[in-house]
């Protein structure tokens, strides 16, 4: 992550001016030139995104007006920065300008202005100052092979930085599929032994926000929820916030009526594709993917992959790189040397058994004819 040392033009004042007594979120917003009207709009939008209903908007506003902003340390391991890219494209303008400063990204080696030793000092300072209070947001994951040498941050393995920063964190957010599941760098054969962060951080609550990248509104929604309510969002069995990950793409897909009707795109250029039929047969992973794409959508709610005519590739699911082609409905089972799907394996074995049965029946018939009368 040497590239992360580049200073960027983003306002990240949390780093340079660390205020004596911490401001409230609202104060930060006003300082950023956000009008009250715009602020309230943000609150109701967030309440809606979190599925909380309109009565919660004033509660969010109240919390933001009275609560001290929460320090966030955002570290980067093996990753492609698509999570950050997604985050700064959040639909509401407040996010880019405010949520970043609101959560006071006290350390984010990609977005902050500081670099080099100065940056590492900022990290250390935040850890010391807000011991046990800050949120650690992790983008990417640590490789374990060769003592973590495949990812060096500030001259030391990222693995060490991660463990160090996690030690005094109040909670940890795993941004994206990398931190949550491992993603592409952990795909077979995983030469660097990259692992999801829960394999390394075992004593802190971890909120997984998978996706490659996760949806911007989901990311800011999770953070805003934690800041306003001062607690973790409700998580599912695998540690994902229920409000965004409790349903599959398929459950809310607008092409679902075509699925139920049995109307499928068979080939990319066929009539069904033009008519916008269901993409199941060309490998859509919507039926097995938990994410909010079909409801929240992307780029200010403009579209999402299925709306653009391409099946879901299941990027927020564990190990999605290792399930074979994105364009097959029945995925490969790599344990069988030459990759085959369940039907190919099943039919081959059933064919063998069928042939054996036929041969056995034939021999049985011959034997029986030879020994006619022996039995009685």
């Amino acid at each position: 992550m040497i590239e992360s040392q580049h200073p960027q033009g983003e306002p990240a004042d949390g780093v340079t001016l660390m205020p004596q007594s911490i401001e409230t979120f609202y104060e930060v917003m006003r300082r950023q030139g956000i009008t009250r009207r715009s602020f309230l709009k943000y609150c109701s939008l967030t309440a809606a995104a979190l599925g909380l209903g309109p009565t919660f908007a004033p509660r969010i506003a109240h919390a933001m007006e009275t609560k001290e902003r929460t320090p966030v340390i955002w570290v980067h391991g093996l990753e492609c920065t698509c999570c950050s890219e997604s985050f700064i494209r959040s639909a509401h303008p407040l996010v880019k300008d405010v949520v970043l400063s609101m959560i006071s990204l006290d350390y984010d080696d990609t977005l902050m202005a500081a670099a080099g030793h100065q940056a590492e000092a900022a990290l250390e300072e935040t850890i010391q100052k807000y011991k046990g209070k800050y949120i650690l947001a992790v983008e990417g994951n640590p490789p374990l092979n060769e003592d973590g040498m495949f990812c060096i941050v500030g001259g030391k393995p990222f693995l060490d930085q991660l463990k160090h920063a996690a030690k005094d964190a109040a909670a940890v957010i795993a941004w994206g599929s990398c931190a949550s599941w491992g993603c592409v760098q952990a795909a077979r054969p995983n030469p660097t032994q990259a692992v999801p962060i829960h394999k390394v951080i075992t004593d802190k609550p971890i909120i997984k926000v998978p996706g490659c990248p996760p949806i911007a509104e989901v990311m800011t929604g999770v953070i805003t929820y934690m800041l306003t309510f001062g607690r973790l969002p409700e998580l599912d069995r695998q540690g994902r916030p229920k409000m965004f990950y409790s349903q599959r793409i398929h459950d809310k897909c607008y092409r679902r009526p075509h699925f139920d009707a049995g109307q499928f795109v068979e080939q990319w250029d066929d009539e069904s594709a033009r008519k916008g039929y269901c993409l199941y047969k060309v490998g859509c992973k919507g039926p097995t993917t938990y994410n909010a794409c079909s409801t929240v959508r992307w780029n200010e709610g403009t579209s999402f992959p299925i709306q653009a005519g391409h099946g879901c590739i299941g990027c927020s699911e564990d190990g999605f790189w290792d399930k074979g082609s994105f364009y097959d409905r029945l995925t490969n089972i790599p344990q069988f040397g030459i990759e085959k799907n369940a039907d190919e394996i099943g039919m081959a074995v059933a064919g063998g058994v069928g042939a054996a049965v036929a041969a056995h029946a034939a021999v049985s018939a011959v034997k029986r004819a030879q020994h006619k009368g022996d039995q009685e």
């Binding site: 069995r237 599959r248 049995g262 564990d318 995925t331 394996i345 058994v353 029986r368 039995q375």
Partner: protein
Amino acid sequence: METIKKRKQTAVYVYEAPLRLWHWVTVLSVIVLCVTGYFIGSPLPTMPGEAIDNYLMGYIRFAHFTAGYIAAIGFLGRIYWAFAGNSHARELFMPKLFSRKWWGEVWHEVRWYLFLEKTPKKYIGHNPLGQMAMFFFFVLGMIFMIITGFALYSEGLGQGSWADTMFGWVIPMMGQSQDVHTWHHLGMWYLIIFIMLHVYVAIREDIMSRQSLISTMVGGWRMFKDDRPD
């Protein structure tokens, strides 16, 4: 089995009515499950017309889930019957894996299928090889299909539903939803192999062994074709 004296009888009542009814209900529902399951994995060609006039995939899935419920409830009923029914009702669940004699008879049965034995033994209940196949292919296979099936079903019912509470844990255990689909799909082929062997052997033994089979599963009575000892 052990009682040689009984062999003088030419007919014994083995499979009571509930068990026979269960067998044929299971046959029907498992066939429906295999056919509809296959078409869930590889759907039929696209339906013409408007979406509102069609519900093919919906009906196929509905049939699958209904048959799934019937097969699963039937299976629970069959477990109950292992306690309530006669001793033959217990054989399905209890291959005598720790009995030397039993393994000896499995071996005898294998030799009979390899045409190395001239005469098979007589059995009132299942023959040991059959019993083993029923246990490993059918009982274990069916339990696997019911657990993975309801895990997939829980995804539709949603988080917090009874199916999610009881079977939802299966999904992370197997990796993710797609893996459960794959395993559930493989499980179908496992059962299909059982059915192929089972039906073949039922017909073959009905003709070639010393006892009745198919009529036994219909009427309950085991008929022996000769009076000789085992």
